[in-house]
């Protein structure tokens, strides 16, 4: 069988200089360019009105109380809990008390939502356009030959993708064309970008994809698609639930301290 015997193809060493390096260099440069373009295209954070800020921060206050309730004595906690639960149920902090029962604002019509969507759209555009361009360029200039051998074996299904220009039946799937070098670079250059551009760079598509997939992202509370009244009521319920177990961190602190004495 042809696959048992190791297939070797003699390659021109100039392959390195003319293909591998140029593709990598172009990808690094476009990545850097993309990062700076994204930074420049980002619009300033929109200024919010006082009652909107108040709404968000007072909700955060409830969250803080719930998270750190063990730091204060039980009596203090209960006093604060009662106050906050009553206030949340009454809707004291809502920026728009009339819209209590109405459905949440549609991102299409709400101007605040539009801004967020535009930002996401711009980010995606900045990601997709260079990718398409580079893929087209590679297909135009670097097709029709294989350039390297992958060190790990793959199934036959990958043949059509990785050996796009070379239509042979017997050639081992491990021999791939330059398009696959492009894909390898796409995932592998992340660490180089982190090195050049520091963390949080916009050339990193993985981080973006993870952000999109993560539903409980930091902006979930403030996105216009959420109903603040429901969030307040949910927080009030959470506070009631957490009130059941309270372990003041100061109980037994003296014993712990004395035990730690060496």
């Amino acid at each position: 069988m042809a696959t048992v015997q190791a297939q070797t193809i003699l390659r021109d060493p100039q392959l390195f200089y003319w293909i591998l390096f140029p593709i990598t260099a172009v990808m690094i440069l476009t990545g850097v360019l993309r990062h700076y373009v994204t930074v420049l295209m980002q619009s300033d954070p929109k200024k919010q009105e006082l009652n909107a800020i108040s709404e968000q921060r007072n909700l955060l206050r409830g969250v803080n109380l719930r998270t750190n309730h063990n730091q204060i004595p039980l009596s203090s906690f209960i006093a604060r809990k009662n106050y906050l639960v009553a206030a949340y149920n009454r809707g004291d902090f809502l920026k728009d008390p009339e819209s209590k029962g109405k459905p949440p604002a549609n991102p299409m019509t709400d101007p605040a939502g539009m801004d967020q969507m535009m930002n996401m759209l711009k980010g995606n555009m900045a990601m997709m356009v260079p990718q398409t361009l580079i893929m087209g360029w590679i297909n135009a200039f670097f097709s029709g030959f294989v350039i390297m051998k992958l060190p790990f074996p793959l199934t036959l299904r990958f043949k059509s993708m990785l050996q796009s220009g070379v239509a042979t039946r017997d050639l081992d799937v491990r021999w791939v064309s330059s398009l696959s070098w492009y894909f390898l670079n796409l995932f592998g250059l992340r660490s180089i970008f982190t090195f050049i551009l520091g963390n949080d760079n916009s050339a990193d598509q993985m981080a973006q994809q993870m952000q999109q997939m993560n539903p409980a992202g930091g902006n979930a509370m403030f996105a216009p698609g959420q109903d603040p009244n429901k969030m307040f009521l949910a927080e009030a319920e959470n506070l009631e639930v957490v009130g059941g177990q309270h372990e003041w961190v100061l109980d037994g602190v003296v014993d712990r301290l004395l035990k730690s004495r060496v």
Partner: protein
């Protein structure tokens, strides 16, 4: 490059240089050199942070010219309408004003800015400090409370309110505010020590010996928590030693005193270690505040005298 790096490393060793007169002086003396050097035009975040620190320390030490220059460069870079720049300009005007009339006009300017833009927090805070320096403590407390009603997550404001209540003698409210800080920053060991101090002081000022013992024990718990979080926190050990000493004195024949005595001994040992190592300038032990170390030494000596009689 040299002076920028020097200042950055200085600020990393002394993160709050304005607490101490000597560090403020040192910083402001570097100011003219920095301002005339070429690195002061670099546009990085660190440069502008240094500018802010230099501005504040120059105003402290009276170097108004350098302060003016710092302020000018900050407003050139960020625009006169930036909230932070407006607050720093207000600060500069307050510091260099010559009469109460000028201060009043600055206050009026703050109110106008806030009427236009009620979300400008730096200006709100400046207004509160100005009210305090004008002696209008009640107005300051009112303004601070309204700030906290729309931004209850600001630990700095809660701590400020706590100190204001403390000056007015309203100890319970002071502790309430400090608890709010704890809800935001649960590992703030200095706040635990502060609550201990306020509890101790309010107990000493109040009447009724039964409540006093309970309050002292609560204060001890707070101090113990602060040193549990930070092993060499001098203020925590000092408070622990002081309050346990008071308890031991008040009730020399109590069965539960075993723990209090051991706490007292532990605190004394730690304080002794700190004092000795600081005195000998050992590596890693020089970061303590000298005044605090002196106070600790004083407490140790006082207690030794008491018990040796």
């Amino acid at each position: 490059m040299a002076i920028l790096k020097l200042l950055l490393s200085y600020l990393s060793i002394h993160p709050s240089p304005l607490r101490n007169p000597s560090t403020s002086l040192h910083l402001s003396q570097q100011a003219p050199a920095f301002l005339s050097s070429s690195e002061s035009t670099k546009d990085t975040q660190e440069t502008w942070l240094i500018y802010e620190q230099l501005l504040l320390s120059c105003l402290r030490t009276g170097d108004d010219n350098s302060a003016r220059l710092c302020l000018q460069r900050l407003s050139d870079r960020f625009g006169v309408d930036s909230a932070r720049v407006k607050a720093l300009t207000g600060l500069y005007d307050e510091a260099t004003s010559n009469s109460p009339g000028e201060l009043e006009s600055v206050l009026q300017r703050y109110q106008d800015i806030l009427k236009e833009d009620p979300t400008n927090m730096p200006i709100e805070k400046r207004r509160i400090s100005l009210l305090l320096s004008l002696g209008r403590t009640e107005d300051a407390i009112k303004a601070l409370t309204s700030l906290l009603s729309h931004s209850p997550n600001d630990p700095e404001s809660w701590a400020h309110l706590s100190s204001l209540y403390f000056t007015q003698g309203l100890y319970q409210q002071s502790v309430f505010c400090l608890e709010e800080v704890l809800l935001i920053l649960p590992n703030a060991y200095n706040i635990f020590a502060r609550i201990g101090e306020v509890t101790y002081i309010s107990a000493s000022a109040g009447v009724g010996s039964a409540n006093q013992t309970e309050a002292f024990e609560e204060a001890i718990k707070y101090f113990a928590r602060s040193v549990e979080l930070s092993e060499w926190y001098l203020r925590g050990w000092y408070g622990l030693k002081l309050v346990t000493g008071k308890l031991i004195q008040a009730k020399p024949s109590d069965g539960k005193l075993g723990k209090t005595e051991s706490l007292n001994q532990m605190a004394t040992e730690k304080l002794l270690q700190i004092v000795n190592k600081f005195r000998r300038n050992e590596k890693g032990w020089t970061g303590f505040d000298e005044a605090e170390v002196l106070a600790a030494k004083d407490l140790i000596d006082r207690d030794e005298q008491k018990f040796s009689r």
